[in-house]
Amino acid sequence: MARALLRRFRAAPWGVGLVLLAPLVIAACSGDPYPQSTLHPTSDTGRAIDALYRQIFWWAVAVFVVVQTALIVTIIRFRNRPGAAEAKQIHGNTAVEIAWTLAPAAILVAIAIPTIKTIFQVAGDAPSGAVQIEVIGHQWWWEYRYPELGVVTANELHLPQGRPVALAISSADVIHSFWAPKLSGKRDAMPGRITRLVFTPDSVGTYLGQCAEFCGPSHANMRLRVMVDTPQAFDAWVAHQTAAPVAVDSAQAMILAGEAAFKKIRDPANHSCIVCHTMAGVSGGVAGPNLSHVGSRTTIASGLLPNDSAGVARWLRDPVAEKPGSLMPKIDLTDDEIAALVAYLQSRN
């Protein structure tokens, strides 16, 4: 009796599924507990993908229910028990074979048609007037260049709400993948090639993402953020990013000290920040992110740490510990040097 019940409840996956759906449903109604979810898109492309996915999902659920039910009913009904009929020595049935070949094929056609439609819809060229952005993956941070607007920044991508965006994606080293789930599916970033993503974000907000192609020790740490601003806020941001660097006030000793440290941290010279980073008016290094307006970002180290004194200090103290394999070396900075650098970097708005 217990065994028959157990078998009847070949529902373990079903039960688990229901149990797990509950928090999802509850959570969906309260704040954003799933900031990287693929299920709540906020762009035209994202919505097209989601709509297609939901269609396929429900077909899959239907097939799942039919097949698992058939399986369960069969094993219960034809289980061996006293008085059970002898097994019928059937070898096959052509009509049945045809039926259950055509039925799945028909379902697949029903999935294929919207699939191909969506493929072409999502793959279209960027409409004129789209914001052109080059996304370049590095081990382990994201570089963004807005060629028409003259902006170069890192890790936090700003986009205007309601305007199409055309991303031209590539890599400076190994294969990465740009993925901001709430805005679009992912697109690989490859050296020597340019891939493209086109979408129009429709909601203001901050959306999380991260690299989705294994790219070495700190693949897990290669995060990104996309800030969708109102058109006015976006224009303001662009103006800000292209503005001249904030002059260092000679009265602010800390920031001055920080600037000096930025330019030269003891010997050997290759440990100076200027070797790897671009700081408008100061240096033109390209191995690391452009820091000209780093103070205006909300996070640093590709989204790993908050961009506040504590976060920046932690990063400067030991980048390799925060990001295994980091190309930014650990330099034995004194606490004073760190404080000065923090002040300087935070001032670079």
């Binding site: 070949r10 373990a12 996956p13 688990v16 797990l20 959570a27 990287q36 979810s37 693929t38 299920l39 993908i49 297609l52 996915y53 396929i56 999902f57 077909w59 899959a60 097939v63 799942f64 069969t74 034809f78 061996n80 097994a87 019928k88 020595q89 096959g92 049935n93 074979e97 070949t101 799945p104 094929a105 697949l108 999935i111 294929a112 699939t115 969506t118 493929i119 190994v174 294969i175 993948s177 993925w179 599916g185 992912k186 697109r187 490859m190 050296p191 020597g192 090639r193 493209r196 999380l208 993402g209 989705a212 192609e213 294994f214 790219c215 070495g216 020790p217 693949h219 897990a220 394999g325």
Partner: protein
């Protein structure tokens, strides 16, 4: 000369030789099958241990159980081990033991080549896993220089520029060695199945396990050469500085992906078809009726093998192939779901109208159907490129392939273990422990992998050593970790069963009253398999009115049977190959490397010549 080979017997009733040396030199497919099974199961446990550590690391966000570098080695070796050192050789264990018996042959076509495949597999697996311990010998600060580029080793992360240590070298060389083993076995089994069938054993009377294995061998001999070349290119880039994947020279990183997946997709059918064959044997036996739609199931298997060559780029939907390529591969991928679904319906129809007993093999076979359907459905979701752009490279696809490979292949292989254990070892595994093993594994497997559908769709990418709490996937990961531990317990139950059942009662030739030829022999079979080669008149030669004749095999052979002796030369040749690989992995010490490689080549050549010219009769 004649003394180098083991003396062969032409007495009236040959018996299997005893002693360690007889195992080292064995050319008997049954012994080679056992060797494959034991070795593969050991590697399965190694891969499982790697999985457990992975799950423990991911059980909580921001965990620091293992370093990022070691984690990357763990998931690389977990995938590589499970695919090449566990599932494939576990299937090979059954190819070896069961196929000759099912077709009514005394052995495979090339017994020494068979032994060679096993030794190359064993030594190749040991070579690759040695990388965990030999770091200092190769100039590394770390103990472990295990492969760390993922089981798929994408260029150009695997170049010397971005992977400077010997880790990737171990991976490339290890896979090449394992490829040799698989190819040799492929030639052997194709020839065996084509050429050594008993009288009346037409192709369309062969058991489905033999048929699916037959298709698998064709996939092996056509797919492995492609990855061989891809790996050769990678090795040449790393050792000599060629330009195959060098972007600055105009090389294309996508070349690697195409070559890898042209192999990689047929490879997943190599992994699943034998298990599907096993299920196709177990279901009829325990339903007491023949397989529904035998011909359709066979043709579906062939179709899956053939169409499986046309879907490879569905692993590359995020690389921007373009809408036309995306559409073509989407269509071919959906197409392949049809024969797969047809098989599932035929399996259910086999049970329909039957009289089902739920012995352990049957539980695993039914579990296979249930779990494989889930994996197949998530696979259909992946077949749609736009949807796949949100699913690929996330835990959603990790869920998909674990459902088909664990819920599918592994459950199918366990069904085979419980089914054929009495035939192979002369005693049955205990039924109670078997059921416990099944339920723990079924629940554990679902607990581990079902939540991954959610964590994937909620934005958790794969191949990450840690994740932040802000994603909201902590609970799903914790449940997966608990499930993994439960699965580990299930495996311990299996091991306990193996030990506890050793003194079980002799089961007789056909304890399950099954219909195929292997059940006509004793359990375990005598060294010569069949006292007389029976003549077959229909599929299921032990059932129904068209039985084989003689209907019962004589207890002792009426005529002298020649049983070939053993040979040491397959092992010798295999050793030579491994020595060459050891030389190659030391390529930074040019003189030592060259010397070792040349020595290995000499050992290989000597092995081949001795093998070719020793007196050996099948």
């Amino acid at each position: 000369m004649a003394t180098t080979a083991m003396p062969h017997s032409e007495t009236a009733v040959p018996t299997a030789p005893a002693g360690l040396w007889s195992w080292v030199t064995t050319t008997d497919h049954k012994r080679i099958g056992i060797l494959y099974g034991v070795t593969a199961f050991f590697f399965f446990l190694v891969g499982g241990l790697e999985a457990l550590v992975i799950r423990l690391q991911l059980g909580a966000p921001g965990n620091t159980l293992v370093s990022a570098e070691f984690y990357n080695q763990l998931f690389t070796m977990h995938g590589t081990t499970m695919v090449f050192l566990a599932i494939m050789p576990l299937s090979a264990a059954f190819f070896n033991f069961i196929i000759p018996l099912q077709i009514g042959a005394r052995d495979v076509a090339f017994p020494r080549l068979n032994a060679f495949s096993y030794w190359v597999f064993l030594l190749g697996g040991l070579f690759m896993n040695a990388s965990f311990f030999v770091g200092p010998l190769l100039g590394s600060d770390a103990l472990s220089v295990a492969p760390n580029g993922g089981w798929f080793g994408y260029a150009n992360l695997t170049s010397t520029q971005y992977s400077p240590g010997p880790n990737i070298d171990f991976w490339v060389l290890g896979l090449q060695i394992l490829g040799i083993a698989s190819l040799a076995a492929g030639f052997n089994f194709i020839t065996t199945i084509i050429n050594l069938r008993a009288p009346g054993m037409k192709l369309m009377r062969m058991p489905v396990f033999t048929w699916m294995s037959f298709v698998t061998q064709f996939l092996i001999v056509t797919a492995f050469p492609v990855i061989t070349i891809g790996l050769v290119f990678l090795m040449f880039d790393r050792v000599f500085g060629t330009n195959f994947y060098r972007v600055s020279a105009g090389g294309d990183v996508l070349l690697w992906q195409h070559l890898f997946w042209l192999f990689g997709h047929p490879e997943v059918y190599i992994l699943i078809l034998p298990a599907m064959g096993i299920v196709s044997e177990v279901l009829p036996t325990f339903s007491r009726k023949p397989l529904f739609g035998y011909a359709v199931v066979v043709y579906s298997g062939v179709l899956i093998g053939v169409v499986g060559w046309g879907v490879w780029a569905h692993h590359m939907f995020s690389t921007g192939l373009g809408p036309i390529a995306d559409s073509v591969f989407s269509a071919s991928t959906m197409l392949i779901a049809v024969p797969t679904g047809v098989k599932i319906f035929n399996w259910i129809a086999t049970m329909w109208g039957g009289r089902i007993t739920f012995a352990a093999p049957m539980l695993f076979a039914i579990g296979f159907i249930s779990l494989f359907v889930i994996g197949g459905l998530s696979g259909v979701m992946h077949s749609s490129p736009p949807a796949d752009l949100q699913q690929t490279d996330t835990y959603f696809v990790v869920a998909h392939f674990h459902y088909v490979l664990f819920g599918g292949a592994i459950f199918g292989l366990f069904a085979g273990m419980y089914y054929w254990w009495p035939k192979i070892f002369g005693h049955t595994l205990r039924e109670g422990l078997g059921k416990l093993h099944f339920w723990l594994m079924f629940i554990g497997m679902n607990l581990t992998f079902f939540p991954m559908h959610f964590s994937g769709l909620l934005g958790m990418p794969r191949r990450i050593y840690t994740y932040g709490p802000e994603l909201g996937v902590d609970t799903f990961n914790l449940i997966s970790t608990v499930g993994a531990l439960l699965t580990g317990v299930a495996l311990l139950v299996f091991l306990a069963n193996v030990i506890a059942s050793r003194r079980g009662a002799a089961p007789g030739a056909n304890p399950w009253n099954a219909p195929t030829l292997e059940w006509a022999t004793d359990s375990p079979p005598p060294v010569y398999n069949f006292s007389v080669i029976p003549t077959v008149h229909a599929a299921n030669p032990l059932w129904g009115k068209d039985r084989m004749d003689p209907a019962v095999l004589p207890a002792t052979p009426p005529a002298p049977i020649h049983v070939p002796g053993g040979s040491i030369w397959p092992l010798c040749t295999a050793l030579g190959i491994i020595i060459m690989a050891i030389g190659a992995v030391m390529h930074h010490h040019v003189a030592l490397s060259l010397g070792t490689a040349l020595f290995g080549a000499a050992v290989t050549v000597v092995g081949i010549y001795k093998w070719a010219f020793e007196p050996f009769e099948v």
